[in-house]
């Protein structure tokens, strides 16, 4: 699959897809989207990059081992639930803050932290499977 066309377009396509996946992740609370589907889009972006430029390039690009990314996501999601402990509400309750950043009200919540955790779990898990399969192809 190492054609010139794919290889030259893959970096742009990948960055666009990763950007789109973050967009899907953030709109997820009230509209279709969220951590899981966003994570899938990001993982397929990395898979395209891997097909075009090789697994080693992907591993360099994401820097951390995919499994470690998953683990951090899992920890983040669990911690998002534990935040409820300090608000005296049951585990995994949604907690919201509304800071004003540059004059705009931004709704931040523990739900978002949880969703980002899910995003990382999905990216890491799918990515490690995809990279593993692609590496396995060669031997």
């Amino acid at each position: 699959m190492r054609t010139v066309i794919l290889r030259s377009i893959a970096p742009f396509l990948t960055s666009l897809m990763v950007l789109f996946s973050i967009f899907v992740l953030l709109r997820g609370h009230n509209e279709p989207g969220g951590g899981f589907i966003g994570g899938l889009i990001a993982a397929s972006a990395l898979a395209i990059y891997g097909i075009a430029c090789g697994v080693a390039a992907v591993r360099r690009a994401i820097y951390f081992h995919p499994i470690a990314i998953s683990a951090v996501g899992l920890l983040m999601s669990a911690l998002a639930g534990v935040l409820s402990l300090f608000a005296e509400v049951p585990f995994m309750s949604g907690l919201w803050v509304y800071p004003h950043l540059f004059g705009v009200e931004v709704a931040l919540s523990s739900v978002l932290v949880f969703d980002v955790g899910v995003y990382l779990v999905v990216v890491g898990a799918i990515c490690s499977i995809a990279l593993g399969l692609e590496e396995g192809d060669r031997d």
């Binding site: 609370h29 009230n30 499994i67 470690a68 998953s70 683990a71 951090v72 899992l74 920890l75 669990a78 911690l79 639930g81 534990v82 402990l85 005296e88 509400v89 049951p90 585990f91 995994m92 309750s93 949604g94 919201w96 509304y98 009200e105 709704a107 919540s109």
Partner: protein, 522 residues
């Protein structure tokens, strides 16, 4: 946006509004703790020396948490926390009653022992494959299953523990392990699919998955809904998980292949999750249907216990023999389920807790014996009792305990079950428990005589001394032996806990009231 809404909304219709006491967090703390330490250990999977230093204290904390939870439940009754503040049955409830808390505490003790034993048994490559992370995550699945109050959530925890168990089973990726792993995975997936089908059916009939809600609604639906079909499906799915005859063939095919500590953990905990689910669903939610099925369950129980131990008698590999003894023990637990009386259920609960500790310890003992004496095969084994008296003595204690001989913890639940069977005139069930005890004694006596008592065969004098790495494993074994001896000599606390737990199962009003404080029945 769920912004700062100015409109007045009656939150009490959807939300739990009372502040949650910190002690109630004990309900979710063990599971969350396991997941979080599991995640931390995954990031450290290359640092094989550091992993046990984090995992073993974390398991110690887990034991403290589950003991605190048990104490909390003893003191204050069933505790519930519903996730995300949503009112049950819409939010997912974690409801811990006495049976759940007792099983959780026992499982945590077993896991701590496995963590300590794993330091000796699992080498660097096994740790890189993720022994400790998988250990924490499988505990998250097991404890979640013991604590959840929602049938679909129970399914999810089964999946969590199943996936982690696949990982543990193929630790090291040897050929025999993959062979055993495929059989285990395939047959367990069938059981899990059946469970899922039954859960979908349950939801179709009841429109709810919350166990307390089902317990309320079962009475009114009984006339119209095909509950017998549903309960039979659940019985088949969980019996497969618990390795009851005739759906037990996956267990002997796979339990002798993984690392010894993994076999020990599985033998101690996994089948008991199936027994727990049977007790929870059949006894607490559908007691009348269980009553109708009691003869089927009793026959399956008698065949499971007798055929299990007959299988064990025929083995030459100690691990295989222990695998069959696990099955035999499941039969004894099912006998209490078949009886359904308070005394019978108490016997089952006590036996399950006893079996978690003793089966794990037996695998540990076999593993230590194999390291010191050279192998799991009975042919050519021998001489352990003269060289390693302490370990041989502990093994003998465990053998007597698993056979149900006094004064160890196996005796009391069997006495309770035999008495409960005779009370209802099921002499043949009582008889098969006693015959199983006799055959188990013969089976473990044979292992003891061949591997421990008889002198070492000619030309094999070079047994390993008890070197420092093995001391940790011995400590883990000794801890579990101490538990079985203590429970055998002072059975009263465990027995009364098991009796209370059985009463809580038979009359779930306290359970229901914990989930729906407003809807106190009657």
């Amino acid at each position: 946006m769920a912004g700062q809404s100015d409109t007045m909304v009656d939150l009490a219709a959807a939300y739990v509004l009372e502040p949650v006491a910190a002690a109630d967090w004990l309900v979710v703390a063990p599971v969350v703790w396991c997941i979080m330490t599991g995640a931390v250990l995954v990031t450290l999977r290359k640092r094989t020396a550091v992993q046990p230093l984090i995992a073993i204290p974390a398991l110690g904390v887990l034991v403290l948490m589950t003991l605190a939870l048990l104490w909390h439940v003893i003191a204050g009754g069933t505790v519930t926390m519903t996730m995300g503040r949503w009112l049950p049955p819409f939010g997912i409830s974690f409801t811990v009653d006495l049976m759940g808390a007792l099983f959780a505490a026992t499982a945590a003790i077993v896991a701590l022992a496995a963590g300590i034993y794993g330091r000796t048994d699992v080498d660097d490559s096994g740790r890189r494959y993720g022994f400790y992370p998988f250990l924490m995550l499988i505990m998250a699945g097991i404890l979640g299953a013991f604590m959840t109050g929602d049938v679909f959530n129970l399914y999810v925890w089964f999946e969590v523990l199943l996936i982690s168990s696949f990982g543990l089973l193929v630790l090291g990726s040897e050929r025999a392990q993959l062979d055993g792993g495929v059989k285990y995975a395939f047959l367990n997936l069938i059981a899990t699919t059946l469970f899922l089908v039954a859960t979908g059916y349950l939801y179709g009939l009841f429109g709810t998955l919350n166990m307390a809600d089902i317990a309320i609604k079962a009475a009114e639906l009984r006339g119209t809904a095909p509950l017998m079909t549903l309960v039979t499906l659940f019985l088949l799915a969980f019996a497969m998980k618990a390795a009851a005859f005739p759906v037990n063939f996956w267990l002997p095919a796979s339990y002798h292949t993984p690392r010894l500590v993994v076999s020990a953990l599985f033998a101690g905990l996994l089948t008991k999750v199936g027994v727990y689910a049977l007790l929870r669903i059949l006894v607490m939610l559908f007691p009348l249907e269980r009553e109708a099925l009691s003869l089927v369950i009793a026959i399956a129980a008698a065949l499971t216990m007798v055929l299990g131990v007959v299988g064990a008698l025929a083995q030459n590999d100690i691990r295989r023999a222990l695998g069959f003894l696990v099955i035999s023990g499941i039969g004894v637990m099912l006998a209490g389920l078949a009886l359904g009386s308070p005394a019978g259920l108490a016997g089952s609960i006590f036996y399950a807790a006893h079996s978690m500790v003793v089966m794990t310890a037996l695998y540990f003992a076999a593993g230590l014996g194999a390291r010191l004496g050279g192998g799991f095969e009975l042919t050519g084994a021998g001489g352990l009792s003269t060289r390693h008296g302490l370990i041989a003595a502990m093994t003998l204690v465990l053998f007597l305990s698993v056979a149900g001989l006094p004064p160890f913890s196996g005796l009391w639940p069997k006495v309770m079950l035999v008495k409960a069977s005779l009370d209802v005139g099921a002499w043949w069930l009582a008889g098969s428990i006693l015959v199983t005890g006799l055959l188990t004694t013969i089976c473990v006596g044979r292992i003891w005589v061949l591997a421990y008592w008889r002198p070492a065969p000619e030309g094999r004098e070079d047994t390993v001394p008890l070197n420092p790495p093995l001391i940790g494993a011995t400590v883990a074994l000794a801890g579990l032996v101490a538990v079985t001896v203590a429970a055998g000599l002072w059975p009263d606390p465990v027995m009364s806990l098991a009796q209370q737990a059985a009463r809580g199962l038979l009359d779930p009003s306290a359970y229901v009231q914990s989930v729906f404080p407003a809807e106190a029945p009657q």
